[in-house]
Symmetry: C2
């Protein structure tokens, strides 16, 4: 292998490749990046247990003098190309199993690994794509991934579920204490029910961060392939049945409180400074509990009591109140703050149906997005 | 105690106070901030084992309705004032040992500690100040603190030594493998020889970050007090004799190489990507060793050999070369990069006197600043 390429083009593609590169791996060969140059194209591949990424470069600046393939130490290769500031980079595979990188007056020799040891990537065959805008994928990630489970007690909950029935795609994430649900419409595509690892969605969102066009999605039984530009991004899917969450979401709300989102978030952040941290119990639910009550004159009070440090309360005037009765409800301030961040709307509504029943948050300009939080029983 | 003050003024002073506030302390009372309101002034004090800070507020916005004193949970108090966005804050000490903070529609009640338990701060008496520009202190910190020892093997080396003899103040920091020395002139002040903890200097530099005027320095046997604006910043001094380093610095240099500082730093950074990391030996000296050699045509080569990953070399053309003989010298790339950052000059010189003798770095526009690095013996 012997080629010359613009450093910027190479770096941009390596940044994409880095999404699939493990820091450590039980298979050392996977800490390498596979380079494969044909007479016309340069392919680069990375893979960890969840994600595989492949880019195809046939940029005008690419001059392939000799085809060939190799596997280079991934992190070192990326770091070197990142730190170099020459216009051109030359990559030459010498016979004594060394990749020589030349850039201006710098020369780097990397010990390579055997490309025959690199596992073959089985990319899903590219037939019948589901075509979706990259921006839709980015919003789905922002709206749902944060609500996935952080621990592996129920592995299926560490992913985001996508359930498509007759063109209605329901996207769900839950850690059992809160739930995010987004519904979008995808006409003319077969029904499917898949669960994608949260981490894979995060990496996919970063990969398409500066990309605003459509992507193609291809599904197999246990993999999802996303293609865009010169990139193939594939992730494994989670095994197992995702729990049915449809009946978790209440449909009737005797109490609807509307707030300016930023005002509500600021008040909750301040009050939660003093909310008790219970490290002895399961953090997922006892973290930063605050209380919300409807007071006289329809003022909302957000408060917390901390027997060690002290108490905090903030009064808020909602932009609108519909309430047939008073209510005091306790919940994790962190869950509320996380969910508020998922909305684009300036005004959001809290929809309550009882002190120990789940409540939901909606935003006027966030169509078909529902955030749900399970309250905790307050002691008094 | 009962007072009202502009939130911004209070916060600005709390940010200063936070420099002396420990996260944890064997004396729990020190995790608090002491508030002491007279009829006219509000004093706030914090202290950890090394640093004590006191501010005196008599801002026009301060209205003291009732004098008094208390000790409030420090971090919580600062966090609340930081998150509040009201113009005014009211602090009221209720009889049941609670400080009530009111701001717009928020109310925070903090359990207080007994001010009688708070240790008395013995600030150095303010006589015969040494007057120095805050900018000089900031440059001294930038030029020397990084070279202090990070471990406590020789505790005195964790500080920066200031040795004043007849108006010539020599400032020295060393971890035994490298040394920073700055000389400034302070006429009309008594001789002294003190060693200031590095951490205290870092916090002092942060405290005066936005301050460009003079500060007053007062010394006692074991303390240094710095006063500026409405702030008293005091640090303990380190016990013990600082080693005599005057004879460490070579005076004659057969080889002088001048470089553009940024070009040299960039090349060293790139090469050091591949320099071996030896975690089994003492990291202080074996970290990121690189080689510098004078080549044919007076080109300088910076290189490293890593038996596992590979090799790197960069060629550099110095802006000037004075060399009676060739030389190959090995040293820590991190030490060189640290020292290069301490110079304002665009052009710096490496002054070498032998393969295993310390070399020094100077900058044309950094008068009286000397950085010294001890080389390591190369195997070949």
């Amino acid at each position: 292998m012997n080629l010359v390429i613009d450093r910027e083009i190479l770096l941009e593609n390596l940044n994409t490749i880095s999404r699939g590169l493990p820091v450590k791996s039980p298979m050392p060969i996977l800490t390498g990046i596979k380079l494969y140059a044909t007479d016309t194209d340069l392919f680069m591949t990375s893979s960890n247990t969840d994600i595989s990424v492949e880019v195809t470069i046939n940029d005008a600046s690419l001059q392939i003098i000799e085809a060939g393939q190799t596997v280079v130490p991934g992190r070192f290769f990326i770091d070197i190309i990142r730190k170099i500031n020459s216009k051109k980079v030359s990559l030459f595979l010498s016979e004594d199993k060394i990749l020589i990188i030349k850039a201006d007056r710098g020369e780097y020799k990397l010990h390579i690994m055997d490309p025959l040891d690199y596992p073959k990537m089985d990319f899903v065959s590219q037939e019948n794509p589901l075509v979706i805008s990259a921006d839709v994928i980015k919003s789905i990630v922002r709206e749902t991934v944060f609500a996935t489970a952080q621990n592996e007690k129920k592995p299926i909950l560490t992913g985001v579920n996508l359930n498509n029935t007759s063109g209605k795609l329901i996207i769900t994430a839950t850690d059992s204490f809160r739930l995010s649900q987004k519904i979008i419409s995808i006409p003319d595509y077969k029904d499917f029910n898949i669960t994608i690892p949260a981490k894979s969605l995060d990496e996919l969102a970063k990969s398409i961060d500066n990309y605003g066009d459509n992507v193609n999605i291809y599904l197999s039984i246990n993999k999802m392939l996303v293609t865009f530009k010169n990139i193939c991004f594939q992730t494994r899917l989670l095994d197992g049945n995702y729990p049915d969450t449809t009946r978790l979401i209440p449909q009737e709300f005797p109490i609807v409180l509307k707030f300016n989102k930023d005002e509500l978030a600021a008040a909750v952040e301040r009050v939660s400074l003093l909310s008790p941290r219970d490290n002895t119990k399961d953090k997922e639910i006892t973290y930063s509990i605050i209380k919300l009550s409807i007071k006289r004159d329809r003022i909302i009070e957000i408060s917390t009591n901390n027997s060690i440090i002290g108490d905090a309360k903030e009064e808020l005037i909602p932009t609108s109140v519909e309430a047939s009765n008073s209510i005091t409800i306790g919940f994790s301030s962190r869950y509320l703050l996380d969910s508020l961040k998922s909305f684009m709307s300036t005004e959001i509504s809290l929809n309550l149906s009882g002190e120990i029943r789940p409540f939901i948050i909606k935003g006027e300009n966030d169509a078909n997005l529902t955030q749900l939080i399970l309250p905790v029983r307050m002691e008094n």
